[in-house]
Subunit: 415 residues, 3 copies
Amino acid sequence: MGSKYPKSLRISLPFWVLMLEIAFILVFFFFTSYETPSKKLELLKPYPAFQDINVMAVLGLGFLKASLRRYTWSSVAFNLFTLALGVQWAIILDGFLFSSSRKIPINIQRIILGTMSAMSALISSGATLGKVNLVQLIVMTLLEVTAFLGTKKLTLTFLDGNEHQSMMQIHVFGAYFGVAATWCLSGPGLSAAKEKEQRATASSLFTTLGTLFLWIFWPTFNSALLEYPSEKETAIYNTYYALAVSAVVAMSFSAAAHPHGKISMIHVHRATLAGGVAVGVATNLIHSPWIAMVLGLLAGMISIVGAKCLPGCFNRIIGLHDTCEVHSTFGLPGLLGGLAYILLMIEQASWTKLSTVGFQILYSAGSLSLSVAMGLAGGILTGLILSLNLWKAPPEAKYFDDQAFWEFPHLAVGF
Amino acid sequence: MGSKYPKSLRISLPFWVLMLEIAFILVFFFFTSYETPSKKLELLKPYPAFQDINVMAVLGLGFLKASLRRYTWSSVAFNLFTLALGVQWAIILDGFLFSSSRKIPINIQRIILGTMSAMSALISSGATLGKVNLVQLIVMTLLEVTAFLGTKKLTLTFLDGNEHQSMMQIHVFGAYFGVAATWCLSGPGLSAAKEKEQRATASSLFTTLGTLFLWIFWPTFNSALLEYPSEKETAIYNTYYALAVSAVVAMSFSAAAHPHGKISMIHVHRATLAGGVAVGVATNLIHSPWIAMVLGLLAGMISIVGAKCLPGCFNRIIGLHDTCEVHSTFGLPGLLGGLAYILLMIEQASWTKLSTVGFQILYSAGSLSLSVAMGLAGGILTGLILSLNLWKAPPEAKYFDDQAFWEFPHLAVGF
Amino acid sequence: MGSKYPKSLRISLPFWVLMLEIAFILVFFFFTSYETPSKKLELLKPYPAFQDINVMAVLGLGFLKASLRRYTWSSVAFNLFTLALGVQWAIILDGFLFSSSRKIPINIQRIILGTMSAMSALISSGATLGKVNLVQLIVMTLLEVTAFLGTKKLTLTFLDGNEHQSMMQIHVFGAYFGVAATWCLSGPGLSAAKEKEQRATASSLFTTLGTLFLWIFWPTFNSALLEYPSEKETAIYNTYYALAVSAVVAMSFSAAAHPHGKISMIHVHRATLAGGVAVGVATNLIHSPWIAMVLGLLAGMISIVGAKCLPGCFNRIIGLHDTCEVHSTFGLPGLLGGLAYILLMIEQASWTKLSTVGFQILYSAGSLSLSVAMGLAGGILTGLILSLNLWKAPPEAKYFDDQAFWEFPHLAVGF
């Protein structure tokens, strides 16, 4: 039968976290060391970029998910929890997979890579938001970071990819992983919790705050892994122009989607960032601002169309509940970016060597498909594991409810 | 007659934005290119400053205007819209007016200049806040950026000004442009919307958040356009000291303005930043912290006197409604800064060449007056254009109301 | 007797602030000058670190204290006031105590030092939060900055300390100063104001925002005063790892402290940052991530145990009211950090020179004890001065209430 109240995590949560942290500490003890500072000044150079990306992960993605009226605390706090746990696991795994030395050397670049890999779990948790507890979130984070780094290993090994390009698949990977995982979790009783999915004025303003943090620092995200300053530069310019156009498009085209021309705040939260997502993979192939602007325009439109049509249509038919609509925020613009990458590569290829061009196109199409496929497969697997009975999952009536997890003040004053 | 409900922007808003974006993309296609990275490392050097200024424009000015209880969404979101649109137009216009090469080279310095020029529209929109719709905001942004860059062109050409000094007139220009524009828009029926102008606890806290972002990053704003590191340095120190003193003054002198010694949060939002405004133009003439501190002290006091007296007296007499009181936040401290600049130039001039000194004083007085005059003239012109019947302006009963523009949740929970 | 209403500060507050600012301006006029820019580029190098620390002080510590439902305005605004005043006094005093030249040279490093010293008052004011007015806050800030810099002078002169190590004692110093000051202020009538100490959903979210700002920028705080890039580097890594572990621990171990396994948001706000505090002093002795992680784990646990047990037990017995529980947020993890420093020094000492080791241990134990002792003594002295009748302190019924200090909108809408 199952009680109406979520089961207590009093023992299991601290126990598993303690075990995990002891394991991490042992691995760090045996297998890592701080990089010997040979070129001292150089090592600290990426520190500002690291902080920008940290602001995006902690404040940006945390508050982006804070729009549910009764789930603001969990959105922001569990986001930090996921990041802090995920980054430890990502640094270990990344070291084992991609480092050649016996001891993994820890440096800022590696922490940046870890943070970015852990962000895949932050994106996916937007889809499962409000439907899983902290223990499930731990399992999901560990599995997703593993799947993401596995995908990256495959891309780098078999598909001739580079660090930047394989990392930029994070948006499609994260989105489809989350969508697949939440699809396995979605039961028929979700309508009972419908009322709690309401957005409130203040919680939406917090979501706007998160969106704006992401909007401001996105150029750093898209340029952090590029090697040459000139590449970094064009990545920054392209991302900025794409974001500027998609912010304008988000606000104005949302009005077209409403019978009385009213703008939807939900659309704005989705589409403002679409330009940054779309321009990610292709950013070092774009050598003129107008291409970035066109991509920003298209991405903003696609994202709004997705936010308007997916929940009512597609999601209802296949029985999917994507709480923060990561599909239209990250998934669709990411697909557009992948297509743009292939098109730009065709356009810029030297047609004297037809075979090379063919291979390059195959490789980049393969890299995009691999991310989608691995995201979907990993997501379904994770979703199935999470729907097992052993995680003390919250009952559906307690979905989207801070009170299931948090000690609340007696006189709980809402927003 | 006119219906009580604001007219739908469903067709006009997306249509005009699409036209505008297509025009921008075509201009960027034909007339711009990314700067060829010759001195690679140097080009990325101003990136941190760019981000600081972006935080000020997006988060600072956005949340600074978020104090109206029922207009928080529009304040923050329309601010981003204005910036994203204005910066595209500003970069184009700035390129045509000030670049000598056939193709405008895009680099970070140019995006910084564009952002700062677009901030003039962000300042002015504080005065018209809640009284215009998005289509009117587009018109206002385009006209204001044009007027501001025109003023800059005149200053640089005829008044021997430099980049930094002409940009620092943005505060007086923006303030008087906004005041003039809102004066043309103010009708007799504003009292009907009075209740909606109430500040709420939480929305005031968001405004404080915006104020604090501006307070923290203002030193970057005042130093970004200076050429030599030593100038940048003194600009940072001066701005910091002026801001520290005006923050202290804001909190304490506001108590003196209330019969029971209570502090007004509105005064704090106005006067905390006055030091940063006042020290802007003159910053490279100030070679000792005490001058900056005196300026901060005076600016804070003037700003509080303005915030206390203007709305009840001056504004009522001439029938002006300045929603965010940009007059006392940016206008009066900006005038003080202009006067300080002239005084400091007289004090530091070499009196052997009397004629040069005379010219310099004339030039700087001219530059200040030109900004005020162009601001007022441009504002009145813009205000008259905005009050035409063709923009589907919201009716006065719907002023200061998010519901006029936004799709609201059924169960709209207020702050 | 005493009226129920707090006495007006209309005359006294502006008067004392004006006197103080005039005094400061005169001191700056006679005794300071901007540093002559010899190595121009170098001087601007610490500017990003300065801004990070400023974000921590203004936004981090400001919003960290914003959890009281009816005291959010004062928490954030008085925090800025304290900082802006404290930093002016700290720069003057620091210059007189530690500068050898006749005129104190102002540079960014000195402003960073001033900000960090002023942060001691920001930490302590978390303990007295809601119980003092602005005039009392001025007195407390001036006295505390003096006591803190005095402690630093003693440490540097007699205990062989360095800049970094003596500054990192700020957590224990600030915590025990605040605890001692609030102990002298705590009266029997505090229970009357109990209802106002309730946390609300939105104000807790603002507190989370502050916590996250601190979490993100803490690595800069712990590395800013270290001299060599390689030291800065390890400080950044260690702080990051300690914070990552304590964030994970905070969320999970809080569940263990509740009979139904619910997480307490108050515990999360306390324990998330414990790792950063604990790793502060010892950061350049830690050469492997696992030590930082163990410290983060222990600090998080201790902080939660403190947050769970201190208020109900220890505080009640000795009649202490520590509003923001700075004792468990900064005090206990700071003590742990001090102990870790001593242990690490013993472990890494070269045992050939036993006498040197002995001295070093004595010195570092002395430095920790000195900070605690000076904090307690200074706090008690300050508390006694603040409880004098001449400061027009708010009556206990008006504790934790914005309305005692702020002009409120007629229709004050709560959170």
